[in-house]
């Protein structure tokens, strides 16, 4: 049942022999040890598993491993470099836009995808784009503030 799947993961080429029907989420978490991407429902309903596929936010729990062949995948682990934080991560930290933090990687990946196509989203656009991500702790106001903060930081550059 194993298929050979090659794709770019966090800017490095990887090649895996896995069952192509397996959800990308579990390949990332179990086979590759990238546990920053979280399981929250496995049904595309919560956004905890959000990763970027060619720059677009997708739910990795609903993404068969085979479908990412030849594509570029980015996970939360890719965002920080040399110990420094990505501006979106920094904005989440500065606003303390989390409580238990379980939704945070998915929120950051969704926010990152939003900001890369829309550098200055309105409140309405944030709500539109982010409503697929659940924060059960109810930290939405601060997450929205963090997105605005990251957008403002980008604007200054």
């Amino acid at each position: 049942m194993a298929d050979t799947i090659a794709f770019k993961l966090n800017d490095k080429p990887v090649q895996l022999d896995v069952d192509g029907n397996r959800p990308l989420l579990w390949v990332l978490r179990t086979d590759l040890g990238l546990t920053g991407t979280k399981y929250g429902c496995g049904e595309g309903q919560c956004g905890a598993c959000t990763v970027l596929l060619d720059g677009r936010a997708v739910r990795s729990c609903r993404t068969p491993a085979a479908s990412v062949a030849g594509k570029k995948i980015q996970t939360i682990e890719a965002l920080s470099y040399n110990g420094g934080l990505h501006p979106v991560q920094q904005a989440f930290l500065d606003e303390e836009a989390f409580q238990c933090g379980y939704c945070t990687p998915g929120m950051i990946m969704s926010a990152h995808a939003l900001l890369s196509t829309n550098p200055a989203p309105s409140d309405e656009e944030i709500v539109q784009h982010m409503s697929g991500n659940i924060c059960r702790c109810g930290t939405y106001p601060r997450i929205a503030a963090a997105i605005h903060r990251a957008a403002a930081g980008e604007a200054k550059k």
Binding site: T35, G40, G101, S131, I134
Partner: protein, 716 residues
């Protein structure tokens, strides 16, 4: 990985020699932590008498140490507490309090939390107890450690201790200007101090570090995805487990055919009574194997949602009246004296905690000793559960709680821990078990549903004449009315719940506040009085008045004029020593759709420890409350849950978010109360009352949007 390597790694976690640390076995203690100063704090006896305390023979002390801290070389402070972090931010707020009293930078303080081998017994992290109990205990330990350090410096320099002061991790002699760090002072010392629960501490008005907005400890690990929740932990050679679930609650296994699963390579099937589970090298293989198992279950006929409220109220369903029953004056006389009376019934549905991290556990047996990592609010309770389930003494079980993906009262039990441990025992390998969302929605437990009946009477001047209150099943928390009324009877009637039910953030205080505060609104309407004025007329407690007045002022309550489809509501209360009042604005569309557009909350929980974390908690509680207020409900039929997915169980999302304003009434003169729960209780009634103001429709059941909402003219 070989077994040898596995054992070597596990050994790092095998800390038998630490077992009796808190019995002040000096040699072991200092062997583990190195020389230094140790201060332990005795718990108030009430807390130590709770169940679950496995006392071993040969206790050297009353074993009532609730927490302790160690100051070692480099001035590093290690604090041990059985409390756990699950998003309520106590790792940070407790660190602040220790740093405050010890007068040392927060960065030098490390909290070891929720590890049954390392931390003293704690009955659990719930009921908003950490801030009022653990906070003061740790402040006392830290204060006492600081004084011991000053003593050491005085001895060393042979000077009067009065001329010494402690600050920034060191002691300074004001006369000579000499300075010595805590680390140097503890060097070679082996000092143990046990202090009582009433050692002195600084007043909140003197705080420098506590009381300020400290950033979350380890915040960076959360934004980088580096923090390891239970579900992220792996052990060498670990397998992934899945459990076969019955087709309905209370079902008995009649027959089982697991032959196909057993034939799958690397799959182990485990059967023990009605427990059937599988373990495999990855979770998908385990799921696939599980799906091949043919099982027949025999399930009894069970109460369904449609009959729920009648069932809870049925005479046979309620046992005797439980606790929470109070009676004063005479209801009969009170009602007779009233000019207006009202009798209404309120209901609340079962709701789910739905923590984003489902229940999970990693279990490993080595040498007949069990170690389990699991997200639970009761590490010692779960240790007990495991010891009982596997017939081993509690000292053979270690429970470690990584900072958890939230719980909200939903992670008191060790279900996943027991299951993982069973599979690990059978396979001889560490096993990770993570519940699916569907399992989480089905096999956890729920906030109790309930029926609340209120009969009341008022005088023309707006004072309450009588108050008769019956709560069926939902619970006694927050049942007492805080309004002044001479004649009252308040009873809680436990019932036989068709669904497994248990703790939930705020417990029954949400349902009781909903019923009481909606009823008060109905009385105000009956009297044609403003609902704020009517409340104030019946409130004696100045702190409660203050939150109502503050919320109303910030909201602009007196200036608001309802129009069709747009209304305003107010509600509030008192719970867990915190005072809350909320004003809400809603819009109701012609289709009956309700949107909460603005919420203003005023909250008084005594002296504020961390305003930043507190605001996050309060606003988070308000957002979470939107779900239970408007749309969250577990639907069930004959022992089955009908909506065990986020698709059909709606939780608050970005689009449901109102504008939220939180006013904190920082009361430096009163002890800090916990704040994780109380802010959740005010929203549902404020919103229910606002819907009435917008539409003229009085909704008396939670969730409010379960009922159709015919649009009528506004009520005020």
């Amino acid at each position: 990985m070989t077994d040898k390597l596995l054992n070597a790694e596990l050994e790092q976690h095998a800390v038998d020699r630490l077992r009796h640390l808190f019995e002040v076995n000096r040699r072991d203690l200092f062997k583990f932590l190195g020389a230094g100063i140790v201060v332990g704090v005795c718990a108030p006896t009430l807390l130590s008498q709770q169940s679950g305390r496995g006392r071993s023979s040969g206790d050297a002390t009353p074993a009532d140490i609730a927490s302790w801290l160690h100051i070692g070389a480099n001035g590093k402070v290690t604090v041990f507490t059985g409390k756990v972090e699950m998003g309520q931010n106590i790792r940070t707020s407790l660190t602040q309090q220790v740093a405050e009293e010890l007068r040392t930078p927060e960065a030098s303080v490390e909290m070891v939390m929720g590890d049954t081998d390392l931390t003293p017994f704690d009955m659990g992290t719930f009921g908003s107890r950490t801030t009022p109990t653990m906070g003061p205990q740790l402040r006392k330990a830290a204060a006492s450690a600081r004084e011991a350090l000053v003593d050491l410096a005085a001895q060393r320099w042979q000077v009067d201790r009065a001329q010494l002061s402690a600050a920034n991790g060191s002691v300074t002699d004001s006369k000579s200007g000499k300075n010595i760090s805590y680390g140097e002072l503890t060097h070679g010392e082996k000092l143990v101090k046990i202090i009582g629960p009433d050692a002195p501490v600084a007043a909140a008005s003197q705080w420098h570090i506590a009381g300020a907005a400290s950033p979350k400890v380890n915040g960076k690990a959360f934004v980088t995805g580096a923090h390891q929740y239970t579900s992220d932990i792996t052990r060498p050679g670990m397998l992934y487990g899945k459990v076969l679930r019955p087709k309905a609650f209370n079902a008995k296994l009649v027959s089982l055919d697991s032959s196909a699963a057993e034939k799958m390579p690397g799959v182990k099937v485990v059967r023990d009574g009605d427990f059937v589970g599988v373990a495999a090298a990855d979770s998908e293989t385990a799921s696939t194997a599980l799906a091949t198992i043919q099982a027949q279950w025999n399930a009894p006929q069970q109460v369904s949602e449609a009959e729920l409220f009648a069932h809870l109220k049925a005479p046979g369903a309620s046992a005797n009246s439980g606790n929470g029953n109070r009676e004063n004056g005479s209801i009969q006389a009170g009602m007779a004296s009233a000019t207006k009376t009202l009798s209404q019934i309120y209901t609340a549905a079962y709701i789910a905690h739905a923590p984003l991290e489902p229940r999970a556990a990693v279990a490993a047996w080595t040498d007949n000793k069990l170690t389990v990592w699991t997200g639970t609010q009761r590490p010692f309770g779960v240790r007990e559960e495991l010891a009982t389930a596997f017939h081993v003494p509690t000292d053979r079980v270690r429970v470690i709680v990584p900072d958890t993906g939230s719980a909200y009262g939903g992670k008191h039990t060790g279900d996943a821990a027991v299951e993982a441990a069973r599979l690990s025992k059978a396979t001889g390998k560490p096993v990770k078990l993570v519940w699916t969302r569907e399992e989480e929605f089905t096999w956890a437990y729920f906030r109790p549903a309930g029926v609340i009946e209120i009969k009341s009477g008022v005088h023309d001047d707006g004072t309450l004449a009588a108050w008769e209150y019956h709560n069926y099943n939902s619970g006694p928390a927050g049942i007492e009315t805080f309004y002044t009324v001479a004649n009252k009877r308040i009873e809680f009637h436990p019932a036989d719940s068709p669904l497994r039910q248990g703790s939930y953030r705020g417990l029954a205080a949400t349902a009781n506040h909903f019923a009481r505060e909606v009823h008060m609104d109905e009385l105000a309407q009956l009297l044609k009085m403003d609902s704020l004025q009517f409340r104030l007329k019946n409130i004696a407690d100045p702190r409660l008045r203050a939150v109502f007045e503050t919320a109303a002022a910030r909201f602009g309550w007196s200036k608001q004029q309802a129009t069709p489809g747009r209304g305003f509501g107010i509600a509030g209360g008192f719970e867990k020593n915190g005072y809350i009042a909320m004003c809400a604005e809603v819009t109701a569309g012609p289709s009956g759709d309700v949107k909460i557009t603005r919420v203003v909350a005023a909250f008084d929980c005594g002296a504020v420890v961390n305003p930043n974390g507190l605001r996050n908690q309060v606003s988070g509680a308000i957002v979470q409350a939107i779900g239970g207020a408007l749309f969250e409900a577990i639907h069930f039929d004959n022992g089955r849950i009908l909506n065990p997915h986020f698709r059909d169980y709606r939780v608050p999302r970005f689009r449901d978010l109102p504008e939220i304003q939180v006013e904190l009434l920082d009361r430096k003169d009163v002890p800090s109360a916990g704040a994780g729960e109380t802010p959740i209780v005010g929203l549902a009634p404020a919103v229910g009352n606002a819907i009435f103001s917008a539409t003229g429709v009085r909704l008396r059941g939670l969730p409010l949007m379960a009922q159709a909402l015919p649009l009528q003219s506004p009520a005020r």
